[in-house]
Amino acid sequence: MTPTPSQTVGPFFAIGLSRREQHVLDANGATLHGRLLDGRGDPVPDGVIELYDPATRAWGRSPTDSAGGFSFLVPREASRLWAYVFARGLLRHQLAAIDLPHEGLFDIHLQGEQETTFFAV
């Protein structure tokens, strides 16, 4: 059977995807902050990041704020997390790897000189 195609999450996903706080993968974890940025370096304020830790199978979700910021509490022993990125203007989600520990903000660049490495799914 042919898989159902993807469509953008659109600008109003918070109604359905962000009704509750879901950014905690580990309540005693470390904070992971980052920003989602477009090809001009501008914040993407209507995106949502989903984070998954293969080791603990912990999952979380954080919508971006007006500065493109997202925030999670992640397991302190995590080494590599996988992040799905959704946003208005993204017709399909993108998959990025986040290697830990990471100093400072973890920025995801959708485009441009610093475009994040996205993986084929």
Binding site: G10, Y52, R57, R92, E115, F118
Partner: protein, 218 residues
């Protein structure tokens, strides 16, 4: 190729957001990664009936939307978390960013979720969303649609998409729908009216199956 074209200028928001570089090869262990897994704890009692989440009934055409979540071999995926969100019958979302001058409905939030049953089936009762204008190009209108988010068994089966209604006159004018370049694949986004699903004297019924990518383990 059933996939959507990510770099698609007709949808203007892609201009500075669609990635341009070739995709990296996903490590094998991620292909075979299971989860995340969700259970009943993520559900509240009225999550699958969007017409009963407030004191009164929402305005609009009451509908039932149901179907199965399958993998590419047609195997039903049970316990799959399905989340939906939509505009009200007037084409207005309950969201601060939505400035369409159509009325909000005090009896409609427009969000639902459920887990698929043992046959992989989901089911929502809601109202048919209205079409609405958007700023993509002059006189741009989105066809009526319900947003769907689905988790499969494998991490790589994740899907976010939109379900449309049969015969919508806006299809040919909508760049998001047409970002799926293959006309046959676009049809996979359109629900089917079904008299069997229709509840007498209550709600029109629509069937829409969701097919996820291959399950990489068994």
């Amino acid at each position: 190729m059933s996939e959507v074209q990510v770099d698609w200028p007709a949808y203007r928001s892609t201009e500075h957001r669609a990635p341009k570089r070739p995709l990296a090869t996903l490590p094998e262990e991620v292909h075979s990664l299971e989860g995340p897994v969700f259970g009943d704890e993520v559900l509240e009692p009225l999550d699958n009936d969007l017409t009963k989440q407030h004191e009164g009934s929402p305005l609009g055409e009451r509908i039932v939307v149901t179907g199965r979540v399958l993998d590419d071999l047609g195997v039903p995926l049970r316990g799959a978390l399905v989340e939906v969100w939509q505009a009200n019958a007037a084409g207005r979302y309950r969201h601060d960013v939505d400035r369409h001058p159509a009325p909000l409905d005090p009896n409609f939030s427009g969000a639902g979720r459920c887990l698929t049953d043992d046959d992989g089936r989901y089911r929502f009762t809601t109202v048919k969303p209205g079409a609405y204008p958007w700023g993509n190009h002059p006189n741009a209108w989105r066809p009526a649609h319900i947003h769907f988010s689905v988790f499969g068994r494998a991490f790589t089966q994740r899907l976010v998409t939109q379900m449309y209604f049969p015969g919508d006159p806006l299809f040919e004018h909508d760049p998001i729908f047409n970002a799926v370049r293959d006309p046959k694949a676009r049809e996979l986004l359109i629900a089917r009216f079904d008299l069997e699903t229709t509840e007498p004297d209550w709600a029109l019924g629509y069937q829409w199956d969701i097919v996820l990518r291959a399950t990489p383990f068994e």
